[in-house]
């Protein structure tokens, strides 16, 4: 069970909620920074996809979800995991290939799942999680669980057949599903301008008969408010919603990205739209948090990540001995 059970509700509903929103955004930020650092030190294998700059979207979305509500995530999935309440040590441990990692070192960055927090897993295939979320929503409906399934995906995934098929299934079956697009402007190097012939991605919803909502993905409050509307619709049985959260990834697509397809100026512009100071200013203005509290929360997030890394580094490396047994779940007698 996660040490940090999810807190639901509007980020500005109370000091506690504001603290949660800020803490989780900071945790994501610090987590990604730690990953970048560990990678730079050669301690991490493979590749990584950082979501620095996008923290408000998963945080705002997940503040509208119960711990039972389910999500599917993407290759850029650390933020969704953390926002849904995953354990930081086990996440770092997974990235370091440790036995205590979420996947015992078998999945790595792109495959972290956490059953306890309703996280059905990140996904290495663009759009791979969208039909799965539709299926989770189908199960919820059939089993009358009253839960909603959220599929996080990027703008790139919206041109995959999987998006189309899943959106249509969710629509025709009226599934309690939220299609949450983090539009960070680029599918690897392809800008949305190049990859779409429509200006407003939310218009795609019309094609499936579902509402499409645009939100400022760098504003945790705005994201939450849209998410809550979508969750309410889903739980009432009114079917799926498409949310397009406009945001931006500050870092490259992955470690190998040289940012040849965008300008320094553009990145700088978006850095000024950093969701964390934006929320701090709002929380202070609305007297939910003081500057001191905000500083302390940021420090708390940093401390949590440092502690997680320290613990994970010491953990036992994943053991190849059990690999063959891990392929299939044992058939119970």
């Amino acid at each position: 069970m996660s040490a940090n059970p999810l807190l639901m509700g509007h980020p500005l509903a109370s000091t506690e909620n504001a603290r949660h929103a800020l803490l989780y955004m900071c945790r994501i930020r610090k987590f990604e920074e730690a990953v970048e650092d560990l990678f730079g030190r050669g301690m991490m294998h493979g590749t990584m996809h950082l979501s620095i700059g996008q923290e408000a979207s998963p945080t705002g979305m997940c503040m509208a979800l119960t711990i039972q509500d389910q999500i599917t995530s993407t290759h850029r999935g650390h933020g969704h995991c953390i926002a849904k309440g995953a354990d930081l040590t086990r996440m770092i441990a997974e990235l370091l290939g440790k036995e205590i990692g979420y996947c015992g070192g078998r999945g790595g960055s792109m495959h972290i799942a956490d059953v306890d927090t309703g996280n059905l897993g990140a996904n290495g295939v663009v759009g791979g999680g969208i039909p799965i979320a539709a299926g989770a929503a189908l199960a919820s409906k059939m089993m009358k669980k009253g839960t909603v399934a959220v599929s996080f995906f990027g703008d790139g995934a919206m041109n995959e057949g999987a998006f189309h098929e899943a959106a249509n299934l969710a629509a025709i079956w009226n599934l309690p599903m939220i299609l949450f697009c983090e539009n960070n402007k680029y599918g690897m190097s392809s800008s949305t301008e190049k990859a779409f012939a429509i200006d407003n991605l939310a218009d795609r919803g019309k094609g499936y008969g579902i509402p499409g909502i645009n939100v400022n993905g760098n504003d945790v409050v705005e994201v939450y408010e849209a998410a809550q509307i979508a969750v309410d619709r889903a739980k009432k049985g009114d079917g799926p919603t498409l949310i397009i959260a406009e945001t931006y990834r500050w870092k490259g697509h992955s470690r190998s990205d040289k940012n040849l397809y965008r300008t320094k100026e553009e990145i700088e512009e978006w850095r000024l739209l950093d969701p964390i100071p934006k929320f701090i200013a709002r929380a202070i203005k609305e007297k939910k948090l003081t500057q001191e509290q905000c500083d302390a929360i940021q420090q708390e997030a940093t401390d949590a990540i440092v502690a997680a890394v320290n613990e994970a580094v010491k953990a036992k490396a994943a053991d190849p001995a059990g690999l063959l047994d891990a392929v299939f779940k044992k058939v119970s007698a």
Binding site: G105, P131, L169
Partner: protein, 332 residues
């Protein structure tokens, strides 16, 4: 002992119905499985008996359908997906091979995918290249999938029930020519399972071991009967599940007969049946062989349309018979 002679379509329907009755979380989804009763009539009247929620018609969207089944399986349901033709699994391959097969492993065992994907395959219907393939090697080469190839109604029933019970994704490949034919053996009443990974020794003999899959078991059986009348006795082994594969009976039989012939309908090149040959070649039973291993398989071509061409593309009874005679005659 029952003497109910069912077709494979009826047996599969019966197994699904038993599972539906046993477990509320079992449901069927696929194109035209509802009121239409399935493209090959397999779901039949189930829509009327279990309703539209459990016999769920889908749009033509294989990737979406399989993905939805994966998601539902991850979330407490036990979906049975019917893909109308195995050829169309190509549309859904990401969800089958990258998602369903790997989730349990990739996620360190946190989740599992208790899903059955049923799909008809095979040639003989004149539907040509995009509706006639035998695709078991596609699935058998993906770790994390179990692959079942039933050859008769009684096995199909027991194997499907075991597949639905299985906590892992199972690809269940039904040969469409078997749908309408009653099996040789009656289909037992009740809900007895046939465990996955246990080959069946269909008949025993001392001169030759034939390992055949799917419809080739039936064709080989006819050959065995004919040869038996002439004093040539053949052991016929039906692996039933090709992943996992049970080689033990094959080894034991070859140690007695010294001759091995393998038969599959799909193309020879990189076909599943080659796995049987490879495992035999690497086993200590290899030294028991008194004849080169004979492989009979489809030609390495897309399945053609015209009946005479289609027939020529895959092993026929006469081919199996001739090959069996030759191996027994030439190698002593």
């Amino acid at each position: 002992m029952s003497d109910r002679m069912l077709t494979m379509a009826e047996a599969v329907r019966e197994a699904m119905s038993i599972a539906f009755d046993e477990r509320p979380e079992v449901f069927l989804l696929g194109e035209d499985v509802g009121i239409y009763g399935g493209a090959f009539g397999v779901s039949g009247d189930m829509y009327h008996r279990y309703g539209s929620e459990r016999v769920l018609d889908t749009p033509i969207a294989e990737l979406g359908i399989v993905g939805a089944a994966v998601g539902a399986a991850l979330s407490g349901m036990r979906p049975i997906v019917e893909i109308q033709f195995s050829d169309f699994t190509a549309q859904a391959m990401d969800q089958i091979a990258n998602q369903a097969a790997k989730i349990h492993f990739m996620l360190g065992g946190a989740l599992h995918v208790p899903m059955v994907l049923r799909t008809p395959q095979g040639s003989g219907t004149g539907a040509a290249a995009q509706h006639s393939q035998n695709l078991e090697p596609w699935f058998a080469s993906v770790p994390g999938l179990k692959v079942v190839v039933p050859s008769n109604p009684a096995d199909a029933k027991g194997l499907l029930l075991a597949s639905i019970d299985d906590p892992n994704p199972v690809i269940f490949l039904e040969h469409k020519l078997l749908y309408k034919i009653p099996g040789r053996d009656p289909v037992p009443e009740g809900s007895e399972r046939i465990p996955l990974g246990v080959a069946k020794v269909v008949r025993e003999g001392k001169d030759l071991t034939i390992v055949a899959t799917g419809i080739m078991v039936n064709k080989s059986y006819e050959v065995c009967e004919k040869l038996a009348a002439e004093g040539i006795s053949v052991t016929l082994i039906d692996p039933r599940t090709i992943s996992p594969l049970d080689m033990q009976p094959v080894y034991e039989s070859v140690e007695k007969t010294g001759r091995l012939m393998v038969v599959q309908e799909g193309p020879a090149h990189a076909g599943f049946i080659n796995e049987v040959i490879a495992q035999m070649a690497g086993s200590s039973s290899f030294g028991s062989l008194i004849a080169p291993i004979k492989r009979l398989a489809g030609m390495n071509i897309p399945i053609p349309y015209a009946p005479q061409l289609e027939k020529a593309a895959v092993p026929q009874i006469e081919d199996i018979e001739a090959a069996a005679r030759e191996i027994v005659k030439n190698w002593r």
